[in-house]
Amino acid sequence: MPTLLLLLLVFLPLLAGCDQPGSRPVLNIGFMNCNNEQETLARFRPLTTYLSEQVGVDFRTVPVDTHEFEERFAAGDFALTHTNSLLYVILKENHDLRLLLTESRGNFGPRTAGAIIARKGSGITSLDDLRGKRMVFGPMMAPSGYLAQYDLMLQAGLDPERDLDYYAIPSGSFKHEKVVYGVYFGDYDVAAAPALDLETMTRDGKITADDFEILAQSPLIPYCTFGSAKETDPELVTKVRKALLALTPETTVAIDGEQVKVLKAAWIDGFEDLQDRDYDLVRDMARRTNMPPYQVF
């Protein structure tokens, strides 16, 4: 079908020129999108380039939306994965994903927490005050932006589906920032905010500690996680592991005409050697809240 080829040729220049595969083996690393693809690429292309250099294969940075991650992983798209802790648990349960390393960032290193916040002065000071209020959650699959808070409420005897006036999830990207602003600007009474986003927004001066009441905060659960598909060559996985653990804040890599610090670009402080059982807290939360991989209808 020459016509199709023609059409393809028309658009092809747009698709070229990102990762230039050489003669070495090419392997995909699936990175869960946090805010958007551009941001994911900007964060993780230096890391991927570093890994390619260290391990001697051509890794490609593949940004993946949360809701299609499992399907693409099941189809064998990714040799390695970088996801949140819940997605790790799901892929481990359903597709035997292997734990590689956990990313470290912020006050709690390789762990993080979910907080339920209200605007200071709103009169809402405890979980009990949530009844009949308007609440905003982060995206459904976010461990510290949805799961942990939903679980906190259930544990406190509150059913988000019945006891709130209503709850919503913001549209578009930057959902975690939006839940915070949603409460800040009074559109919602309470929000499910990741502790890490409260930390970074405070450090950026977007909010201050005095703007909010923290009604509750979950226990610490693992943060973003590297995993490897069970088909991926174990020797290669060992090399990746070693390369990640060897990263220092000073490690740089050449990319797009710049020489950039790998960890700084990726917003990572370092990597930690958590064990699979450290994720049991997440599993318990997923069971209690009827979330995948344990969801029953």
Binding site: L4, L14, Q38
Partner: protein, 178 residues
Amino acid sequence: MRFDRFDRIIGLALAVTAIALTALLWRGAGDDARSGRSNPQLEKRLAQQAKSALLQKIYGPVEQLREKGALPEALLKLDEIARQMPGEAHGVMLRGEIQYQLGALNEAITSLSAGVRSEPLYIDAGSPLSRRNLIEEVVRLGMKQVAPQAKSAPENRRLNQALTNLYYLQSRLAGGCE
């Protein structure tokens, strides 16, 4: 990898086009069956129509906003589309047109020349995509306003880039090649 979602848009568009073309060619096969081969002219025109329909679909909301004079909104809509398809020629041409209408002449020159560079049909008077009149108008104004500035400031890289782009558009209008 940068255009991962765009991959999918294009993939979808290609699939739709493929189905449509198959249907068309299959219908056309009745007339053309005697010759026993497909008609390259026909295929080319079909491809152009398919592309044109796709562009219409993608950029329709921008055109609508532009037509009712909501230029800032149209530009925002373009910014939104550009997230998935940065540098796509049709979007770049539309951006240039709106920049020109909002008084950002140098930026319009940059956009229009980038658009024509990646898709020469935009300067082709016979093409349904043609923006030749607009380009002529922008080049005329640019030669009057930008060229003297650029010449008097030889160290100003951006002004001289604008001048280079003007010359490029001028030569394409005159039918010259790159």
